[in-house]
């Protein structure tokens, strides 16, 4: 392959294959540019930027095309799995999470418009940061390459730091932002170091190539690099755990949530978390599984060339020669197409069993500790935002469980493993409404009673029954009580722990559900049973105001999805059922 051929291939890959799959991000970027430019003319300063951001998000959602997952349309859509020479993957899961993030973004923009943070003055900055963060999260959800993992995490984090400090006059807000930055920078550094360790040990930063290397390296080479690999894996996990606010990297979470405005909290606790989960799933499946490449497209050319340039000196010769599979040098060495007896994809999946054991142990342990700690720490919170921060931490724990189950199931039953990932996607979909609803109510109540203390919610049921009932329903859904959406989400997410044999995790998750009852119920109790605190501003909150209608609109899916969750579940299944096969 000469240089010209390679270049042609690359141009074709970029323009014809990759860019169409990358349209939503491009639209978001264009929207951001437009928002910034809109500040220049005088009339641009007079309009709220949300009116630019919202159409931009809707257009991006159109290009994200969630309907493309439907069976009829799926065949015609070309899910050319790796795009941009293997940097990203454009598959069904990408479509799902990107659509989810964009749906959230649209709902979120409406929410911020109603709640009045940011004001017109701040709105260009705010929405630029939000959309920038969303682009980063979309990248996280489709990352296929460790550099993209890092870039995605950083692109999502940096706007979040600024958003956390958005309330400029508040000391707490600035403190929260600072804490967030320091924590984020530290974990990002550790993660980057971990990536470089892995790259050194495996000779690549392209995830499928790394997994193939893991599967095909001879035992002595693996044993030699074991420490480096383990360290690298742990360090990468530190970065992901920070984004997930998993224990012990959760310390930023309650402080940031208390300092930042409820709007920003909604953004951090829903979008950021969903993207981090998608990333965790990508990493866990990327290292725990190798499969046939979906299409023999250009990426192989790139990665082959790239490996030829960079990797040859690193890899033990005999192992490198026996490297077939997904991104094996098919294109530059067609004669190695015949797989070696020792390294067919089937065999490679088996040989990754130790990696999976490590991943299951690590993710499972993190999940168990995270949900237990989150629930216990939420007990004596008096501030609603802090309480919801710990609730977010606990839910991160629950949400990691299906990932552990999926990785454990890869060796047993690929279909069940895909369903486990689908359960994660379903949970993420439900979670959008639950947490967005909770924070929206907190924000609207802050606007009327000027307080975010739980005690000040006393007697809310008498003053504004609609919003009290809505918040109660959302909190019960967060506990996981039927017939609300949180129940099927939790049930399905826990369900796959049974076939994967992680019963201890199931028991921990179940008991945590019972534990979580106390603190969610305490809020409900204050709202319904307690008398109104003296000196509180009157909480008159009409359900016929825009805020009231918004609350009702967000709460409705929490009920509907609890009773009839088949459509969303089916959609989540469609998103995951070609992931591993």
């Amino acid at each position: 392959m000469n240089f010209q051929e390679l270049l042609d291939h690359l141009i074709h890959d970029t323009l014809r294959v990759s860019l169409p799959g990358f349209m939503p991000e491009l639209v978001l970027c264009a929207t951001i540019v437009l928002m910034l430019l809109a500040r220049l003319p005088a009339f641009g300063r007079r309009i709220n930027t949300v009116w630019i951001a919202l159409p931009g998000c809707l257009a991006a959602l159109y290009f994200a095309a969630p309907w493309r997952l439907l069976p009829g349309l799926r065949e015609s859509a070309d899910f050319t799995a790796p795009i941009f020479t293997g940097m990203l993957v454009y598959d069904e899961l990408t479509v799902f999470f990107r659509s989810l993030l964009l749906v959230f973004a649209c709902l979120f923009l409406v929410f911020t418009r109603i709640s009045g943070i940011p004001d017109r003055e701040d709105s260009p900055d705010f929405y630029t940061l939000v959309l920038g963060g969303i682009v980063g999260m979309c990248l996280m959800a489709s990352a296929n390459h460790m550099v993209m993992v890092f870039l995605g995490v950083e692109m999502a984090s940096v706007p979040s730091y600024a958003l956390a400090g958005m309330l400029k006059g508040r000391r707490q807000s600035s403190e929260a932002a600072l804490k967030y930055v320091v924590y984020g920078a530290g974990t990002a550094g550790v993660m980057l170091y971990g990536i470089s360790l892995l790259a050194g040990a495996l000779g690549s930063v392209h995830m499928p190539t790394m997994a193939m290397q893991l599967a095909t390296l001879p035992a002595e080479a693996l044993a030699e690099r074991q420490t480096v690999l383990l360290m690298g894996g742990l360090m990468v996990m530190v970065g992901v755990a920070f984004k997930l606010s998993a224990v012990p990297f959760h310390f930023w979470c309650p402080d940031v949530f208390e300092g930042a405005s409820a709007e920003v909290n909604a953004f951090l606790s829903v979008a950021s978390k969903a993207a981090a989960l998608a990333l965790l799933a990508r990493l866990a499946l990327g290292f725990g599984f190798v499969g046939e490449p979906r299409t023999a497209q250009a990426p192989t050319a790139h990665s082959a060339a790239y490996r030829a340039l960079e990797k040859r000196p690193l890899v033990v010769p005999q192992a490198r020669d026996a490297l077939p599979g997904r991104d094996a040098p098919d294109s530059d060495a067609p004669d190695s197409n015949v797989p070696d007896s020792g390294a067919s994809p089937q065999n490679a999946v088996e040989r990754l069993a130790p990696v999976r054991r490590f991943l299951v142990g690590l993710i499972g342990l993190l999940a168990a500790v995270t949900c237990t700690f989150g629930n216990l720490a939420a007990y004596n919170q008096t501030n609603m935002k802090r309480l919801l921060a710990y609730s977010t931490i606990a839910h991160a724990g629950y949400l990691m469980m299906p990932v552990a189950a999926a990785v454990a199931l890869i060796g047993k039953d690929i279909e069940l493993a895909e369903e486990a990932i689908a359960s994660l996607a379903f949970y993420a979909g439900v979670y959008v409404f639950m947490n967005l609803g909770a924070f929206a109510i907190v924000a609207f109540l802050r606007n009327t009673i000027r307080s975010e203390e739980i005690a000040d919610y006393g007697g809310l049921i008498h003053r504004s029954p609609g919003v009290a009932v809505a918040l109660s329903l959302i909190l019960f859904s967060l506990i996981g009580l039927p017939p609300l959406a949180g129940f099927p989400a939790k049930l399905i997410a826990f369900a796959y722990l049974v076939p994967s044999g992680l019963l201890s995790l199931l028991v921990i998750g179940g008991l945590n559900t019972a534990l979580s009852l106390f603190y969610y119920l305490r809020v409900v109790k204050v709202m319904t049973l307690d008398p109104e605190p003296a000196g509180r501003l009157p909480a008159s909150f009409s359900m016929w105001s825009p805020a009231g209608i918004y609350v009702a609109m967000i709460t409705l899916p929490v009920i509907v999805l609890g009773v009839s969750f088949e459509p969303l579940n089916r959609w989540a299944r469609l998103a995951a059922d070609h992931l591993l096969s």
Binding site: F494, K525, R573
Partner: protein
């Protein structure tokens, strides 16, 4: 025909919920209209269930309950969540229908007893009607998922009904109730998931008449599976088809070895499933030592909610054990039979002694519930169908029928007792047993009704409480003489605390407690609630057959299936095990041996 079943059963379950929706439109300041509307809804539900209970005229096919039929009636299965094989699957048989009747009856009466609720009437009535939907749904659901949803749906209304309208310690009592039940249901959920993922309709089909070449032990039609599922089973394939169908899971527990794999610490999957389910249901019954939520919840709840709690919610535990625990996990139930009966006896004795020690009238009634529900557990657990009795299920059937009867009887008598406490509490605003006395003179009609109902709770012959206790005690004799003696002795304790209570409250020279001037005669509304309860207590005491007719076929079928399982599966397993150990000599009688040979040749 199916659409008739769907309509009728769905109407019975969801009519209260629909009523709750309509109530949302009512203006807040019309409490009387709201209460009246709620009462009308509960009466309609009751009339619907009565309509079902009346036998159909000869030769006319109606969706009514058919007397004498043992299997599921009016069963239907509708697509709900196909990706998890979850169906909107309901049906009734003698076990569930009698409890549905009890539920609709008590719900109606308790709504009548709710008239002196004055604060937040609208919210109260909405929650109350939602609660009724949950309760009836639990008894009718045959899909495990649906069952669980209804089971949990009851929790929220109950939490608020205790927490908002209860007594001084209501918040503590409400959260204690919620937490206990939630822990139980989480354990139940774990068991449900374990059972679901190990179930396989293909394996069951091999034992049934649905595929050619199967052994035809199971009648497929009795499982009432959705046609789509049956079609999927008929198609060749080797991926397991999981199910939440309670009937199919029962057959799997009895006729396949799907649930026999070892799960943990040398115990089989079904052993763990049984333990988890049993704890979940036992919290509801409740058993000692998981009963501590009950005195608090019952005492703090307002009178009508206490009636519902004692009359219906406790029965769900017993129902769950009969319908779910025993049929799905027979092996574990067999192995743990002594544990189950032992817990039953413990609850009986402990509850009775605790009741003797109470100073609070309502707390005494609450502990009497613990004691009475112990009989239910004892009657269920009397597994007499073993080799030594030639697999004769008669005594066990008697015990389980007694347990079922006891549930209905206790539903009537305990609801009545709580109502009687409520009537006097509304007047004198205290429940201190030592400060009562002389009520008979002040309010003879009230006292007369109370005597009747309390005697029913005592188990006086001629009243409903006697039949269940008698059947259970009688059946236990052939199972364990020691337990029978204790069970019979508990009757004396029961008589002691109830007679002593009657003496302290109603007899005596005159009332000396506080608010003596407010003791007014019982009102017509109160009589209208107490009199039907007493009437049914007498009716079922004199004519128990009228109730047995409904439930005995289904109860006997359940027992017979388990007895067959003991004969065909369990004993052969044990024999297989004993063949391995050389030292074990045959100890059973000659008849037992011939029976074994006969049964093994049959197989």
């Amino acid at each position: 025909m199916q659409s008739q079943y769907v309509l009728l059963l769905s109407l019975v379950v969801f009519l209260p919920a629909l009523g709750a929706l309509v109530l949302l439109l009512f203006p807040k300041d019309k409490p009387e209209a709201i209460k009246l509307f709620s009462l009308v809804v509960t009466v309609l539900v009751f009339l619907l269930t009565v309509y079902m209970a009346v036998p159909s005229p000869e030769g006319v096919a109606t969706p009514r309950f058919e007397l004498g039929a043992a299997g599921m009636q009016d069963a239907f299965s509708i697509d709900w969540i196909p990706s998890f094989n979850i169906f909107y699957f309901m049906g009734i048989d003698g076990i569930s229908f009698t409890l549905v009747l009890l539920t609709s009856f008590l719900s109606m009466l308790a709504m009548g007893a709710s008239w002196n609720i004055t604060s937040h009437v609208k919210a109260y009535c909405i929650l109350y009607l939602l609660l009724e939907t949950g309760m009836i749904g639990v008894f009718m659901a045959l899909d495990f998922f649906l069952f669980y949803v209804f089971w949990e749906v009851m929790l929220l209304p109950m939490y608020f009904l205790i927490g908002v309208w209860g007594g001084p310690r209501r918040e503590y009592a409400a959260i204690k109730f919620f937490l206990y039940t939630l822990v139980g249901s989480v354990l139940m959920l774990i068991a449900i998931l374990i059972l679901y993922f190990n179930s396989d309709l293909r394996a069951l089909a091999a034992q049934s008449d649905v595929v050619a070449g199967g052994s035809e032990v199971v009648a497929w039609d009795e499982l009432h599976l959705h046609p789509d599922v049956t079609r999927a089973v008929r198609e060749p394939g080797d991926n397991p088809i999981h199910t939440f169908n309670i009937l199919a899971l029962s057959k799997m527990g009895q006729h396949t070895d799907l649930f026999d794999a070892e799960l943990l610490w040398g115990r089989s999957l079904q052993w763990w499933a049984f333990v988890l389910l049993f704890i979940g249901f036992a919290i509801k019954i409740p058993i000692v030592p998981l009963h501590t939520w009950l005195p608090d919840a019952h005492v703090e709840a307002p009178t009508p909610i206490s009636m519902i709690l004692a009359g219906i919610l406790l029965k769900m535990g017993g129902y769950g054990i009969i319908r779910i625990c025993y049929p799905i996990c027979p092996e574990a139930a067999y192995d743990l039979a002594y544990v189950v009966t032992g817990i039953g006896v413990l609850s009986m004795v402990y509850g009775a002694f605790a009741a003797l020690a109470q100073k609070d009238f309502k707390r005494l009634v609450a502990y009497s519930s613990v004691s009475h529900m112990g009989y239910v557990l004892l009657g269920i657990g009397v597994w007499t169908a073993t080799a030594s009795t030639n697999y004769n299920p008669d005594y066990w059937a008697m015990g389980m029928n007694g347990a079922m009867f006891q549930m209905i009887a206790h539903g009537i008598s305990s609801a009545g007792m709580f109502f009687m406490v409520g009537v006097i509490y509304d007047r004198v605003h205290h429940r201190n047993l030592d400060e009562f006395g002389g009520l008979f003179a002040r309010s003879p009609l009230y006292s007369g009704l109370a005597f009747g109902i309390f005697f029913a709770g005592l188990g006086l012959p001629g009243l409903c409480g006697f039949i269940g206790e008698f059947f259970v005690t009688l059946s236990v004799w052939s199972y364990s003489k020691a337990m029978a003696v204790v069970a019979a002795a508990t009757v004396i304790l029961t008589a002691a605390y109830i007679l002593w209570t009657l003496q302290r409250v109603y007899l005596g020279a005159e009332y000396r407690g506080p608010h003596g001037d407010r003791i007014t005669p019982i009102t017509g509304r109160e009589v209208a609630i107490a009199a039907p309860l007493l009437a049914f207590a007498i009716w079922f005491g004199v004519l128990p057959q009228s109730l047995f007719n409904y439930m005995t076929p289904s109860v006997n079928k359940t027992v017979q299936e388990l007895a067959d399982w003991t004969r065909d599966v369990k004993e052969s397993r044990q024999r297989g095990a004993s063949r391995l150990s050389i030292n074990q000599a045959p100890t059973t009688s000659v008849e037992g041996e011939t029976e074994r040979i006969a049964s093994s040749t049959q197989r």
